[in-house]
Amino acid sequence: MLLALAMLSACGPAEQSTGKSSDAAADLQELKVGALEDEFGLQLNRPRLGMYPLNTGICEPLFRLTNDLQAKPWLATKVEYRGDNTFRFTLRQGVVFHDGSPLDANDVKFTLDHAVRVKTQYSFLSDQSVRVIDDSTVDVRPSVPNLRLADQIVHSLWSVIATGNDPTTRPNCTGPFRFLEYSPQSHFTVVRNDSYWGEKAKLQRITFRFFQDDNTRALALRAGEVDAIFDVNRGTIASLRETPGLKILAAPPGSTILMYISTRGAPPYTIMADQRVRRAVAMAIDRKVLVDRVLGGYAALVNSVNPPAALGRHAAAINGVPYDPAGARRLLDAAGWKLSGDRVRMNGSRRLALVMIMQPGNVDRVVGEFIQAQLAAVGAEVRIEHLDPGAFSARINSGTFDLDIEVPSQNDANPAFLLSLRWYSRSPIASARFMPVGPRFDSLVTAALTSESRDDTQRRASEAMQVLVSDEVAAIPLAGIYRIYAMTDKVRGFDPHPSRNNQWWNTVWLAR
């Protein structure tokens, strides 16, 4: 009966690609991409349509984030720090918006002022921050001391829009593609911008279709409904790899599976206040097995909390904590945690029982189970709590957890971004007070945030990372995560970016 129903329905008009692309389709150079869930409509008045979190190539920032996580001049040809917390941006000449109007400093001012107006809680800007010097020069002075502005401005949220444009309905930008159509929860379509100032896009059109479900996205690729998909679920990699005509591409690590530790948690979450216990936990986890077996090799061993590329040559200076389960047991013994009859250590009447919180959509469950098993082997009991975003944020902000596994991404070029956000004593976020590292860490982060030299910033950030990860063990980097894409063999020129919202599409083309 099911077959009959399906046969009957197949008699209807063909409404989607059958995967057998005709010559005409190949000539059209239209790429269909299976994207994640549609989040454009989730915030009104935010300058994100086609920009963030899905970057469709219609808008561009002043500086771009390269694949090795550095800031590269883009709509601005240079930036110079002029002292007094002020940056001067010089704009590229000959750039026009999709409506044909030329880019000038007023557009940059409009963009940044718009971000302030709609409260893009990210900028540290005010409506007094931007001053137009002349048509191609603009000064930006953050509302608080912030020497990392040039590193942050690469984020796709800072894409430049034309003066007077409403980016929530029809963005008017300068990118290699132009906005064509948006159907919420269904698709977002862009077409080639023939008057683009840089290298013209090879594709004539890209349709991004939204699939919230990872498996459905993969099945759509296998069915030929889309040519490429984002963020391939590790569980589906094997079946995609075995499908003829498909290939898997991986970007360098752009995010890290990271274990946050509640070093000053609210009672009774106080076990991890002891640095010896924290170190023992780190020593008990075989990260190589996690990378090779659990994550199927689509990950890298890292010692830093953000991708090593962001730290440049200084990343190598971070030692991390080596795998040493015997050492972990000795440390726990020394800290007063003795093995009891049921294989869980006790310290007086207290069990070495830790609560680990996770968000299922954020981290593979299997990672949590692996850590649970590894810590059980040294006598620590771990209870995993899978929480939805609301409950998760409540727990994080009340310090009611021992361990927390998340996957933070590096979407800008600021090497100290995560350090200053999650552990820094001056961080504005509520959860930071439950994870303090210490004065030495704080002073290094301050130095990283206030250095005029990028190399010096990377060095200071690496030193702070060394304190965080190796000395104080206040966080445990578990693995650097490759961002995985899958596509048909006919998709060429795709250069996978470690940061999803900085993916670039104008080099992509379709082979016949």
């Binding site: 409404e15 995967g19 989730l42 809680q121 919230q212 609301g390 509520a430």
Partner: protein, 324 residues
């Protein structure tokens, strides 16, 4: 409409008022008691980063979240009475507008699935009962067992694999025409059919032993008349009751299927709202769905006397009270 029926419906509608108020209180409490701060989650959504405590406090004030819960409940209820379900914290869109925009897709899915389930379950359950312990009966029971045991999402993926990936007969996911409805309806309908097959079979078996069926057979009535007119019609009441209850479940439970098949229905919208603690949307949906569910039950109650003349309104009323 008879006077009796009109009175009956009037009374039912009056009963709906306290029940509806109870639903509204439940909706408000459930949304507001859940851990997590909607203001903070909104700010996280905007930038992908944890917001400052000051920014959260400011947004809480803007959203009116700082007042006492009873005061907020009364305010909300007053707005609801005026037909205003409030605005989504996340999108700023009016909740009623959001639900009205998304509900048809879910309703289309749920109604189609229920119709398919009934079309499968009634004949299969009836035939299984009539031919008790035959191959047909064993087959129907096996199908019902599998249908009830296999989770909906597994059925969904298997259907996609077969009809979209392997046979390329249907689209994988989306909502761009009736062909996109086939697989999600099958996914939801198979599970519902499984429950209804078993109930139909059990009721038919019971009815087939009744005196009036024996009498009809003894009087030489044709088999199809005995089975359809006398047995099946009398076996239908519990099936209809269960269908109404399960229809409510379908409305709420469509979220997983909507997620798998990328359908922009209300179920998925509400799951997202729960994740983000978007109180107005959660409250609005519970109220909306609760009202639809109450009306569906009212419809079933009205159908009883129409289907079975032996059912007196007072009996229907007793059943109705018992169901509350």
């Amino acid at each position: 409409m008879s006077l009796h029926l009109a009175r009956f419906i009037s009374r039912r509608l009056l009963y709906l008022v306290p029940v509806w108020l109870g639903v509204s209180l439940l909706a408000f409490s459930l949304a507001n008691l859940a851990p997590g701060d909607p203001a903070e989650l909104m700010l996280v959504r905007q930038t992908g980063q944890s917001p400052s405590a000051e920014a959260v406090a400011q947004l809480r004030e803007e959203l009116g979240l700082n007042g006492p819960a009873p005061v907020r409940y009364v305010r909300w209820l007053a707005k609801v009475a005026a037909g205003d379900l409030g605005e989504s914290y996340r999108t700023g869109a009016p909740v009623l507008e959001l639900l009205v925009a998304r509900f048809p897709s879910t309703l289309e899915l749920a109604l189609s699935a229920m119709l398919l389930a009934i079309l499968i379950a009634l004949p299969l359950g009836a035939v299984a009962a009539i031919r008790q312990d035959s191959i047909t009966d064993h087959f129907a029971r096996l199908v019902a067992l599998i249908g009830a045991s296999v989770p909906g999402f597994v059925v969904g993926y298997l259907l996609i694999l077969l009809f979209a990936v392997t046979l390329r007969l249907l689209p994988v996911a989306g909502s761009d025409g009736w062909r996109y409805l086939v697989l999600p309806v099958l996914t939801l309908g198979i599970g519902e059919a499984a429950a209804l097959v078993r109930l139909t079979r059990a009721n038919m078996l019971e009815v087939l032993t009744e005196d009036y069926v024996r009498t009809a057979r003894g009087k030489g009535a044709p088999s199809h008349t005995v089975f359809v007119r006398h047995a099946l019609r009398n076996a239908l009441n519990p099936v209809i009751t269960l269908s109404a209850v399960r229809f409510g479940r379908l409305l709420g439970g469509a979220a997983i299927v909507e997620t798998i098949f990328a359908r922009p229905g209300v179920g998925k919208t509400v799951v997202d709202a729960i994740h983000d603690r978007d109180y107005p949307v959660i409250q609005g949906f519970i109220l909306f769905a609760g009202t639809v569910f109450l009306l569906a039950n009212l419809l079933v109650d009205v159908m009883y006397p129409l289907l079975d003349p032996r059912v007196r309104l007072s009996g229907a009323e007793r059943r109705y009270r018992a169901s509350l």
